[in-house]
């Protein structure tokens, strides 16, 4: 697989008007909306490093490169790509960018759009297009990189990306704080941690089912990751110890956390004003229904609800849907409800399309005039 092969696949499909299902390594294939396509265009075999000069802290790779491979290659030079989306580490960087998927590190290192420097893609006419560049700062031309990020393959097939890397921190330690006590006590502890001057790499609040699944006991848990030089990590751990009782845990907990999803049939992300979660997190975390995992990033204002197969079945009335409906009522002003995955029959009940506005429609028509790239995945 190469850019040329993608070009010819797209041109062939354009001639016959037969839509393509664009996929990386198919680790999260049924996550999005139903796609109307008979054929699959997989980037699985288009993998590998194109350019890596460690001193520049930039990396150019083919889109089919698995995240685990990027981790391996950069670790050899004591560097990393601080991007840890949920799901399998075998997922590809192309799919991660195309779906704008991020994980707990996003609160410190930003979203995929913040780590991406440039990309190459093939649009729906088979034209090879490059946006951005390979240097860390660049404002030349209109920003096609940001446009493609999170477009779910509907505007073009991403074939190559250039990313910003960071040096691996000298110290990288993770702590768990059991959130015991009354709702009020939990709320005050969470507020104390979040409002402190601490600058953790990641901070997540887990409800009891999530805590149990990652092996952290029966209570809601606050999971904190500190990174940096030894001095700054030590100072932060000591500051945290003055307001809570952190217990150091193995970093592997994050891998389990990212794969909480397992066989989940429903995943909903609610993004709201961070402060709202300070007020409500204790109540949300108190819910202990088997198979329903809720995790909150109170600094970024993100609540993620994952309903596993042992949770409520997808008959349209799960508690997760009910919570998200609560946020929906507030209107777009203060929250966004993003459906990452739903049982097929539930899609009908949610917003029919996230690209209905006139600008999005025009962009789609310009970049994919035959509507052959992942049609339906974002709605119509």
């Amino acid at each position: 697989m190469s850019t040329e092969a993608v070009v010819s696949a797209i041109k062939d499909s354009g001639k016959t008007r037969s839509p393509l299902r664009i996929s990386g390594r198919s680790t999260w294939l049924d996550a999005g909306r139903p796609v109307r396509a008979a054929k699959m265009l997989s980037l699985r075999d288009d993998s590998g490093v194109v350019g890596y000069v460690p001193g520049d802290l930039t990396l150019t790779v083919r889109a089919g490169t698995p995240l685990s491979e990027i981790e391996r290659v950069t670790r050899e030079h004591d560097q990393w790509l601080p991007l840890d989306p949920y799901g399998s580490p075998d997922g590809t960087i192309g799919a991660t960018i195309a779906t704008a998927s991020a994980g707990p590190l996003a609160s410190s290192f930003g979203l995929p759009r913040d780590l991406l420097l440039g990309l190459e893609f093939v649009n729906g006419r088979g034209d090879v297009v490059r946006g951005g560049g390979k240097v860390v700062k660049n404002v030349a031309g209109f920003d096609l990189s940001r446009l493609l990020t999170g477009s779910w393959g509907t505007l073009g097939v991403i074939t190559e990306v250039t990313l910003r890397l960071y040096a691996l921190p000298k110290a990288d330690r993770t702590f768990a704080i059991a959130l015991k006590g009354s709702e009020k006590e939990v709320a005050s502890l969470v507020r104390g941690i979040v409002m402190s001057p601490l600058t953790p790499f990641a901070l997540q609040l887990l409800n009891p089912p999530a805590a149990r699944t990652v092996g952290l006991g029966e209570h809601p848990v606050c999971l904190v990751r500190f990174g940096g030089n030894d001095a700054v990590v030590r100072a932060q751990v000591s500051a945290l110890s003055q307001i809570a009782r952190p217990e150091e845990v193995d970093a592997a907990v994050w891998t389990r956390f990212r794969q909480l999803d397992g066989n989940a049939h429903t995943m909903i992300r609610i993004v709201s004003l961070p402060h709202r979660f300070l007020a409500t997190s204790a109540r949300i975390l108190g819910d202990d229904v088997p198979g329903i995992y809720t995790c909150i990033d109170p600094r970024r204002g993100v609540l993620r609800i994952v309903v596993g197969i042992d949770g409520e079945n997808g008959d349209g009335d799960t508690p997760a849907i009910a919570v998200s409906a609560d946020f929906h009522k507030d209107g777009a002003e203060s929250s966004e409800v993003i459906f990452e995955k739903l049982p097929p029959d539930l899609w009908r009940g949610v917003s029919p399309s996230v690209v209905q506005d006139v600008l999005s429609q025009r962009i789609k028509r310009a970049y994919d005039p035959h509507n052959i790239l992942n049609p339906g995945i974002l709605g119509d």
Binding site: I10, K15, V53, P54, G55, D56, L57, T58, D78, G110, R113, G124, R125, G126, V128, V129, R130, K134, V135, V136, K137, V139, A140, G141, F142, D143, L144, R146, L147, Y166, A167, P169, P197, T199, N229, A231, V232, R234, A235, Q236, V271, L273, P274, H275, R300, G301, V302, A332, E333, S334, E336, I338, V354, V355, L359, R362, A366, Y367, P369, L378
Partner: protein, 513 residues
């Protein structure tokens, strides 16, 4: 004082133009419309010397409603326009060639400040530094800090995706803007992005930021605010060779420490700053200095400070001085931020360049720049964001000397080519505007430029907003196919007579080429 405008000063004003001016005056008030050539002189350049374009009219709406009404009127008339903030841009991007300027500096309300959630919503004419002063008492800052921060506006920052010294650690405007309300050139008002920072669907916010006024005007902008760091320490390291300073820069970046800022000034720049009223106490006999700032939690900063000091000394620094207090820090920064201004002492004109290179190539490219300067007998002053590899090679010269002008332009073209050949970019923060358009084809393929044209056509099918900028018109092969062939109204109006015309239509593009 308030006599009606007299005929002689409007000698080249046509009746159609007067009619438009009158209707604009009906919207914004007579004193906020300029049409006399003498009044418009102020708007015939931006911060980059060397380009002058005379606008036909300038209109300055005072409210969001007036702005939308102005844009709608121009849409009805089929007239082209250029949005303009403070006019501090360095790419010729805010120039209006015989078309209408919409000046947005009167839209200067800070609409809301949400301290708890660290967000502010502002009108586009709010000056960058004013926003920072407004949020400082709450322990917050707005991170992007272009050197023109005392004058430039947030709207202009959005249009250019502005950077600044501290974007090395904190990122550029793109990383700090969450949402915008935008009036499209058609007059339609749309919301882009989301105040909560993330949303489903295409990132139209990301597409709009850095669109250089070609996609419409922002009516309000919601930005993310950053907590002020607990500790800030600033170091000045001086070197007797440029090469040493360049290698130290690469070594700091490679060490993994991310300074808040890492700025480079070469010998000619140091001396011109020290001769000016902005003298910062830089060692005059140094061939290069690095201004390095570290911030964050006290414990971490102290450890990094030691590590950086060690790298500097191991790399041959003669002295490493750490600013003792805020006053000393400010003085060190003053010299850096005012360096462009100080260069006015050297010669009447200044070419300001803005290129980016991979950071490991810094020593080699600086040597190349010096060799090019010697070849053409010009003095290149380098003052730049070394940590990002964002170069600003500047040449002071007299544009009145044709021989010198030619040598300066040849030298600059060669410098840009060297940066492109190193795998770099033609602009890191100033934008393409008019000045860099000629280089776009050197870094982007025909199909990439065409994709940019198509994106512009999505926002501005009639190409009336800041026409003739960013992407060369001839690169837009799909133009007519995308714009749906809608004719521009009022094409015969004298005001838009200079608008670049669409190229000849091509049939809608089939999948095969």
């Amino acid at each position: 004082m308030t006599q009606p405008t007299s005929a002689p000063t409007q000698a080249n004003t046509t009746p159609a133009q007067s009619a438009v001016a009158e209707r604009l005056a009906d919207i914004v008030g007579e004193r906020h419309v300029l049409s006399r050539p003498s009044e418009l002189l102020v708007y015939n350049s931006d911060g980059l010397p060397g380009y002058r374009r005379q606008p036909r009219l300038a209109v300055f709406p005072g409210t969001r409603e007036e702005t939308v009404a102005v844009v709608r009127l121009l849409a009805d008339e089929g007239l082209s326009f250029v949005p303009r903030g403070a006019g501090t841009g360095l790419s010729g991007g805010a120039l209006a060639d015989d078309i209408v300027v919409i000046g947005l500096h009167r839209l200067k309300k800070i609409i809301s400040l949400d301290v708890q959630n660290r967000r502010a919503t502002v009108e586009p004419g709010v000056v960058n530094l004013r926003l920072n002063k407004h949020v400082a008492p709450h322990g917050l800052l707005y991170a992007p800090d272009p050197s023109s921060e005392a004058a430039c506006t947030i709207g202009g920052n959005v249009a250019e995706n502005a950077g600044g010294p501290h974007c090395l650690k904190y990122g550029v405007t793109l990383n700090h803007v969450l949402a915008m309300t935008v009036v499209l050139p058609s007059g339609e008002v749309v919301e882009l992005g989301s105040k909560v920072g993330e949303r489903d669907g295409y990132d139209l916010r990301g597409a709009f930021i850095g669109s250089e006024g070609c996609f419409g005007l922002a009516l309000d902008i919601t930005v993310k605010l950053t907590p002020r760091p607990q500790t800030v320490r600033t170091l000045l390291a001086d070197f007797t060779s440029i090469d040493q300073a360049a290698h130290v820069t690469s070594a700091i970046i490679a060490s993994g420490i991310v300074p808040a800022a890492l700025e480079f000034m070469d010998g000619p720049t140091i001396r011109v700053v020290e001769d000016s009223i902005y003298a910062a106490g830089y060692p005059r006999d140094a061939e290069a200095i690095l201004l390095i700032e570290l911030d964050g939690l006290e414990a971490g900063v102290s450890a990094d400070l030691e590590a950086v000091r060690r790298i500097c000394i191991d790399g041959g620094a003669r002295n490493v001085k750490v600013a003792r207090d805020d006053a000393e820090r400010m003085k060190l920064w003053q010299g850096r931020k005012k360096a462009f201004g100080a260069m006015g002492r050297l010669a009447p004109h200044l070419i300001v360049q803005d290129a980016v290179i991979p950071r490991t190539r810094l020593p080699e490219i600086l040597a190349t720049i010096r060799a090019i300067g010697e070849k053409y007998g010009v003095i290149v002053c380098n003052v730049f964001h070394a940590g990002d590899g964002n170069l600003h090679p500047n040449i002071a010269y007299s544009a009145d000397d044709p021989g010198e002008s030619e040598r300066v332009h040849k030298a600059m073209t060669e410098i840009m080519q060297a940066c492109i050949d190193a795998g770099g970019s033609i602009t890191g923060e100033h934008g393409v505007g008019l000045d860099k358009m000629g280089y776009m084809e050197a870094i982007f393929s025909e199909s990439s430029l065409n994709a940019m044209c198509e994106l512009r056509a999505v926002f501005d099918p009639e190409r009336r907003s800041n026409p003739g900028k960013v992407v060369p018109v001839h690169a837009c092969k799909e133009w007519n196919a995308v714009s749906g062939g809608r004719l521009r109204m009022g094409a015969s109006s004298p005001v838009d007579a200079h608008e670049p015309r669409p190229l000849e239509a091509e049939p809608p593009h089939p999948s095969a080429t």
